[in-house]
């Protein structure tokens, strides 16, 4: 009872899934480049991240459109229906992640030529974590792997701890040296964008669990 009578459906869904993974790698690239632009104070690169966000937005609408067409023409049910609805939620979340990467790039442009307040340590750590989480959650989606999705959501706690540490450190610096407030705020914005990216990955992890198990629940509340 394993062979499929839905080869047309399967073919179209795999196409959607390929586009989803492509969008994932574009978002991953945006996060990586936003950090690079911050580290190198590269405003041209920051502008590129902001411009590329348009392509990510366009792909999101293309995927959403394909999902609606698939629902309308193929009437998926059960895990098929859960998966195609999950794709819509996932692309919305990934589009927002790209907005957060663009947010970091915009901050880089605002910073101008002001030197960094302090060497970047925890922010690159957050970026590494965010990229790993994104890659893993998309893999878990493809493999319907609820256990991995749950573990990814747990890693968001680490993201939150890093953000909290950065927040407290920058607050101390601002208290000591009030004239550093502007530069501290810029770094705070960058860290906040990364923290939000972690939350978006958690949203995707919730969807992966729903697709795999039918169990709809909020993680990390």
């Amino acid at each position: 009872m394993s062979y499929s009578l839905r080869t047309a459906y399967d073919r179209e869904f795999i196409q959607i899934q390929d586009n989803l993974l492509q969008m994932g790698s574009m978002v991953d690239q945006a996060i990586a480049l936003s950090l690079e632009s911050l580290q190198n104070r590269d405003r041209a690169l920051a502008k590129q991240v902001i411009d590329d966000d348009e392509n990510i937005n366009a792909l999101r609408f293309k995927i959403e459109d394909a999902c609606l067409a698939l629902i309308a023409t193929q009437q998926p049910a059960a895990s098929d229906l859960r998966a195609v609805v999950a794709v819509i939620t996932i692309v919305i979340n990934m589009e927002r992640m790209a907005d957060h990467a663009a947010g970091i790039a915009k901050t880089v442009i605002l910073m101008g030529d002001e030197p960094l307040l302090k060497p970047l340590i925890d922010i690159p750590h957050m970026v590494r974590l965010a990229r790993e989480m994104l890659g893993e959650v998309l893999q878990a989606f493809v493999e319907h792997d609820a256990d991995t999705a749950q573990m990814i959501a747990n890693r968001d706690d680490e993201m939150d701890r890093l953000y909290q540490a950065i927040f407290e450190e920058l607050l101390e610096i601002m208290a000591d040296k009030p004239d550093s407030a502007e530069r501290a705020t810029y770094l705070m914005w960058c860290a906040h964008n990364l923290e939000r990216i972690g939350d978006r990955v958690t949203n995707i992890a919730e969807r992966v669990i729903f697709v795999s198990t039918g169990d709809m629940r909020e993680l990390n509340v």
């Binding site: 499929s4 049910a77 059960a78 229906l81």
Partner: protein, 260 residues
């Protein structure tokens, strides 16, 4: 798919560990199901899975097939419909049936609907009979189309109209339960949607059990859905649940089309 009634109800029909045999072939195995009043219950499953056999057990239509045997119980309002004291004609008045192909009598529209009340002696005069015919045709959403041609032949109606006429004929004898065996499989999409709308409307007054090969139809019209497979009731649950988060792998396989 419709919101569930939230009060707890005793079942209109309770089926308990039903086995059914054609000769030595066991067509149903230990099927138990509670059918709630004023709900639409859809039965789905591949051909030969037992869903139509099960439906016909609910008003003893299988009695007419020789060399069959039934074990277990079917209770209507708590009373065993297979008890020797049950009058099968009374039973089938309480539990009416609509078939796959519309089967009006080759008579007028009026006489088709009036047939049951006349045979059962339900009316005292022409006026009362007129009222029953009008009410039944209205409830079957056919009145507006036929009210000026009640004496026209039923066979002149379109197939969709004929099927609604057959439903009106069932309604005329004031049933409590209506069984429908693939009621739209001979109809075009518009006539199909008209019947589906009608099923929803009728479920305000009547308990409806519908066998369908069209899974989307089950999803659209029913409150509860049961999946039959090789004579077993694999899963029976709220329709929304069955079509989004079925518990049984066989249900999942069947409704996603991943089964041979």
């Amino acid at each position: 798919m419709r919101p569930m009634a939230n009060k707890t109800q005793s079942p209109k029909i309770a089926v308990q560990e039903l086995d059914f045999y054609y000769g030595s072939v066991r067509a149903l195995s230990l099927v138990s199901m509670e059918i709630l009043e004023c709900q639409v219950t859809a039965l789905i499953g591949p051909s030969g899975c037992g869903k139509s056999t099960f439906l016909r057990c609910l008003n003893r239509m299988n009695d007419m097939i020789p060399n069959t045997r039934l074990e277990g119980k079917v209770l209507l309002d708590g009373e065993d419909i297979y008890h020797p004291s049950v009058d099968v004609v009374d039973l089938r008045q309480r539990i009416g049936m609509v078939f796959q192909t519309p089967n009006p009598f080759p008579q007028s529209v009026f006489d088709n609907v009036a047939f049951g009340p006349r045979v059962l002696g339900l009316t005292r005069g022409r006026e009362e009979l007129d009222a029953i015919v009008e009410r039944s045709l209205k409830r079957a959403a056919l009145w507006e189309e036929v009210k000026d041609h009640l004496n026209a032949g039923a066979m002149e109606l379109s197939l969709g109209e004929q099927q609604r006429l057959c439903i009106a004929r069932v309604l005329a004898v004031e049933p409590e339960v209506i069984l429908m065996d693939e009621p739209t499989s001979a109809l075009d999409p518009i006539a199909t949607l008209q019947i589906e709308e009608l099923v929803r409307e009728l479920s305000k007054r009547y308990t409806i059990v519908v066998v369908t090969h069209n899974m989307q139809q089950a999803a659209r019209v029913s409150d509860k859905t049961g999946l039959f497979w090789l004579g077993e009731l694999v899963e029976f649950d709220n329709t929304a649940r069955i079509f989004t988060r079925p518990k049984e792998p066989r249900t999942e396989a069947y409704i996603t089309g991943r089964v041979g």
